[in-house]
């Protein structure tokens, strides 16, 4: 298993490098750069000033040199036990430090949403399969397809607007980190997380239902039934456990969507995560920040996918991971 993990990690390094290269190339292709945006906002436009600023920020070098500087600094910093992702062109702050406070917030949002989605989708999916073609089933399935088609930002807008009109209630607006004040944090986070989870509830429920239907007609469930096991034991221990394996695969495939979706809700609910940072950085053409965020997200996605792949071995004893023990 360890050998498998190491091999997988080695394979992904080239694709991570490819992603950062591509991003850094694309963002430097454009006409207006960070300095011009800065100048437009600060109200100076002397060509000499712009050039001086570009030189100060190192933007006058060719892009491959800029990339190499950024990349080699990152590479050298890792053995020293820290991560050097460069400095923001805008705030001149250390990007790694900035990400360290923001990444956990985004991950908390995504993780909470996933937990909520599983907590809703799996029981509903199981009931929907066990009582198939009943009213409960029809209602659950109708809601599931709506969950996939409803634009999340619309729901979020409705949730912000209507309770405020009807009951003068609006979601809390001050964010507190989880380790400072868990209750305040959760009372802030539950709403964006719940909305983010709805999309996943939709298809996780459908997936659970489909897989349960397959498994419930299998021979070993028939055997369990013939042995006279109680229904609950058959459903939970024999059927659900097997039905969940493909569900885990789907979760793995949807991790990028989950993280992407977090961007939208971070914007609406002012959650100080990396999504909002990305949008601010994109407005200011803050290259190093954009580049760093893309890299971090790629790392997170790849790592989570690895975790999902390894969890097969735990869930399903029949699976042996190639390249290991």
């Amino acid at each position: 298993m360890t050998a498998y993990a190491v091999r997988r990690l080695l394979v992904i390094i080239p694709s991570l490098i490819a992603i950062t290269l591509l991003v850094s190339l694309i963002i430097r292709l454009l006409p207006a750069d960070a300095v011009m945006v800065l100048a437009a906002q600060q109200g100076f436009s002397e060509e000499a000033d712009l050039d001086r600023l570009r030189h100060e920020l190192g933007l006058d070098k060719p892009w491959h040199e800029q990339y190499w500087d950024w990349f080699s600094a990152l590479f050298r910093s890792i053995p020293e036990g820290k991560v050097d992702l460069g400095y923001s062109l805008r705030t001149r702050r250390d990007i790694a430090g900035e990400l360290k406070t923001r990444l956990p917030v985004s991950l908390e949002l995504a993780g909470l949403a996933l937990l909520m989605a599983l907590a809703i989708a799996i029981p509903v999916g199981v009931i929907s399969a066990v009582k198939r073609n009943s009213w409960a089933d029809y209602i659950a399935r109708s809601f599931a397809i709506m969950g996939v088609a409803v634009p999340g930002f619309w729901l979020a807008t409705l949730v912000v607007v209507w309770p405020s009109v009807w009951w003068r209630w609006s979601p809390p607006s001050v964010f507190r980190p989880l380790h400072h004040d868990p209750i305040a944090n959760l009372s802030f986070m539950w709403l964006p997380a719940l909305l983010l989870s709805l999309y996943f509830v939709g298809f996780l429920m459908r997936m659970t239902r489909t897989m349960m239907l397959e498994v419930l007609t299998s021979d070993y469930v028939l055997t369990a039934r013939a042995k006279g096991l109680p229904n609950l034991v058959i459903i939970v221990r024999h059927a659900l456990r097997n039905a969940l394996i493909p569900v885990v695969t789907v979760i793995g495939l949807q991790i990028p969507v989950l993280i992407g979706g977090a961007v939208v809700y971070e914007t609406i609910f002012s959650v100080p995560g990396i999504g909002r940072l990305l949008i601010e950085a994109a407005q200011n053409r803050d290259y190093p920040v954009i580049q760093a965020i893309n890299l971090i997200i790629a790392v997170v996605v790849v790592f989570l996918n690895l975790v999902v792949d390894m969890s097969y071995a735990v869930l399903d004893p029949r699976v042996r991971l190639a390249g290991g023990d």
Partner: protein
């Protein structure tokens, strides 16, 4: 269904063809009511988009500062926004923008994805490996972040948004077409074509492509809905089609949200339009899948909605029964286990 004259290779009168087409549409409407409903909704949206200059009661950018944030009235059926613009007109014009972005994006993804997928599946060589790595890498990255990164770098515009979304959607098509092409390429008729000495390009063009067409149609229909959803999300975040062009997402965007508490109904209409369009494309794609590829088991298909009773289709679960120890008498349905 009986084979039509044209399918059997007879020369047929054009009117007869028209009759066949009418019958096909009728069959679709009666067998797939939900798909047909979706198709109707989509046709209405398409007409809205095409006829926008004719049917929109006001120009989309006409402001009327004296009548801002009004509720629904006879003059403005859906009210006015924070600059006094007629919301109904903006939604009608928005349909045009959404349809354009959707069609443009899907044209890009459909064409590129089909070419890449068909070739990768047919040649199964280093090209296949490369294509698969490309698909893996792009699919493992959050699309919206890629889009914001790309779009924020160019001057915003309709074409840019179209291209960016198109690129984002390529891997999904590629994947579908590749697996279809893999299956088709191992068919005897492909081997026959090769044996007869047909060059590779001809085999791909004449034999592989027509046979991977049905899944492409399904993928592309669903993607039209996705493209609209993505465009709306981008516009909502302020990265979509630039103002003053009205996009459904922008109607809910930061500008519009400032005064939404004073006219809360403004938050309803654009979202409803997006939802209806996306939902219809999804359902129509599902119906299309059922019609074009009857081999796919309903249980695995994406529609969780029940098939209306009395439509002459078997329930999906019964098809996947697998091996039964004793042959059952014809005409008796096996008893379902009770849970």
């Amino acid at each position: 269904m009986e084979a039509t004259g044209a399918e059997l290779g007879y020369r047929v009168h054009p009117l007869s063809r028209l009759w066949d087409a009418t019958k096909a549409v009728w069959t679709f409407y009666s067998r797939q009511p939900l798909g047909a409903f979706s198709l109707t909704v989509l046709v209405v949206f398409a007409l809205m988009g095409i006829l926008a200059p004719v049917i929109a009661p006001y120009p989309y950018a006409e402001t009327d500062i004296l009548h801002r944030l009004e509720g629904p009235s006879l003059k403005h059926p859906l009210g006015t926004d924070n600059l006094g613009r007629d919301v109904l007109s903006r939604i009608i014009w928005g349909a045009r923008v959404e349809m354009l972005v959707g069609l443009g994006a899907v044209a890009i993804s459909g064409f590129t994805g089909t070419v890449l997928g068909a070739l990768a599946g047919y040649f199964r060589s280093r090209l296949d490996w490369l294509v698969q790595r490309y698909v893996d890498i792009q699919m493992s990255f959050p699309g919206i972040i890629l889009l914001i990164t790309i779009i924020s770098m160019f001057q915003p515009g309709l074409i840019q948004v179209m291209v960016a979304i198109g690129i984002l959607l390529i891997p999904a098509v590629t994947r579908v077409v590749r697996s279809a092409s893999l299956a088709v390429s191992s068919m005897p008729y492909i081997e026959a074509a090769r044996t007869l000495g047909a060059p590779a390009w001809r085999t791909v063009l004449r034999h592989v492509l027509p046979n991977v067409f049905p899944p492409v149609m399904v993928a592309v229909t669903t993607q039209l809905g996705q493209a609209i959803l993505i465009e709306a999300t981008l516009s909502f975040l302020g990265y979509g089609v630039p103002p003053p062009q009205p996009s459904w997402g922008a109607l809910l965007g930061p500008e519009a949200r400032k005064d939404m508490l004073k006219a809360p109904l403004l938050s309803v209409w654009p979202g409803l339009a997006i939802f209806l369009a996306v939902y219809s494309f999804n359902m129509f794609g599902d119906a299309l899948r059922d019609v074009l590829d009857p081999r796919i088991r309903r249980a695995m298909s994406r529609s969780p909605l029940p098939r209306p009773f009395g439509q002459g289709h078997r329930r999906p679960e019964e098809k996947s029964r697998g091996h039964r120890p004793f042959p059952l008498p014809v005409g008796r349905r096996p008893r379902q286990p009770r849970y």
